[in-house]
């Protein structure tokens, strides 16, 4: 049980947004930063330090990987989700859906 609880530990917002941003296509650092602003309706703007701190941890966990794009220079590495990263994102979405359903149920019960 404890093991299951650890596996579905909530992701931090920067990590969730990075995984979301990479879900449809690979992106490099600046494109990630811009896409995260769009995904969060302008609410979240990650600083470069925060972005690369999260990217480093995600690389260490092998949830994302770096790869060469045709126009890639050392200053413009691209990142993409790994299978493990995609699985983590799905798990997080399931966790959020479950919470949303539970919260909506409680609200309905209160209003009925």
């Amino acid at each position: 049980m404890r093991h299951v609880a650890e596996e579905v530990k909530p992701l931090t917002e920067p990590v969730l947004l990075i995984l979301m941003s990479l879900a449809d296509q690979p992106r490099h650092g600046y494109a990630l930063m811009k896409d995260i602003e769009v995904l969060s309706n302008g609410r979240v703007r990650l600083s470069t330090g925060t972005l690369y701190g999260a990217l480093r941890r995600l690389l260490e966990d092998v949830w994302i990987e770096r790869f060469d794009q045709e126009d890639t220079s050392r200053e413009k590495q691209a990142y993409r989700l790994t299978a493990a990263g995609r699985r983590q994102l799905r798990q997080e979405l399931e966790r959020m859906k479950q919470l949303t359903r539970a919260a909506a149920g409680r609200l309905r019960a209160r209003e009925a």
């Binding site: 650092g29 600083s47 470069t48 260490e60 092998v62």
Partner: protein, 140 residues
């Protein structure tokens, strides 16, 4: 601007700078250019956010680095007792395996800067594992 931010990058561990340094500077430069076009106010806010973010992030990297080293070395016998000796040894072995995988990926991706950084980490991880085995009298 780039020089100021570059100076802040020196706060980060060396392997981080080797792996991400040029990329981070390039992203910072693009973002700074965009904010500057929005006016001085936006630019000033951006710089405050970036420089404070760099300091906080550098501290996070150092903390991660120290805690990883401490965990791997298993210096704390109390920690070993709490988590179980085999768990500590497994963690150290996993770290060695993980570094090796990353190094292999980096070489396959022709990212030799990253490969070198992982190779340095690999040496440290193997040394930590060796110390642990010596400490608890385990053979290879």
């Amino acid at each position: 601007m780039k020089r100021i931010y570059g100076a802040f990058l020196r706060l980060y561990p060396r392997e981080y700078r080797e792996l991400f340094g040029p990329e981070v500077l390039s992203v910072f430069e693009q973002a700074a250019r965009e904010q500057r076009a929005r006016g001085w106010g936006a630019w000033a806010l951006f710089m405050v956010s970036e420089l404070s973010g760099a300091v906080v992030s550098a501290a996070g990297h150092w903390m991660d680095r120290f805690s990883a080293r401490r965990d791997a070395a298993g210096i704390e016998v109390a920690g070993a007792r709490r988590r179980g000796l085999f768990s500590v040894l497994d963690e150290a072995q996993n770290r060695v395996d993980l570094n090796l995988r990353r190094m292999t990926h980096a070489i396959a991706d022709r990212d030799f800067v990253a490969a070198r950084a992982y190779s340095i980490e690999d040496l440290k991880a193997r040394e930590d594992l060796r110390k642990l085995r010596d400490r608890f009298g385990f053979d290879e």
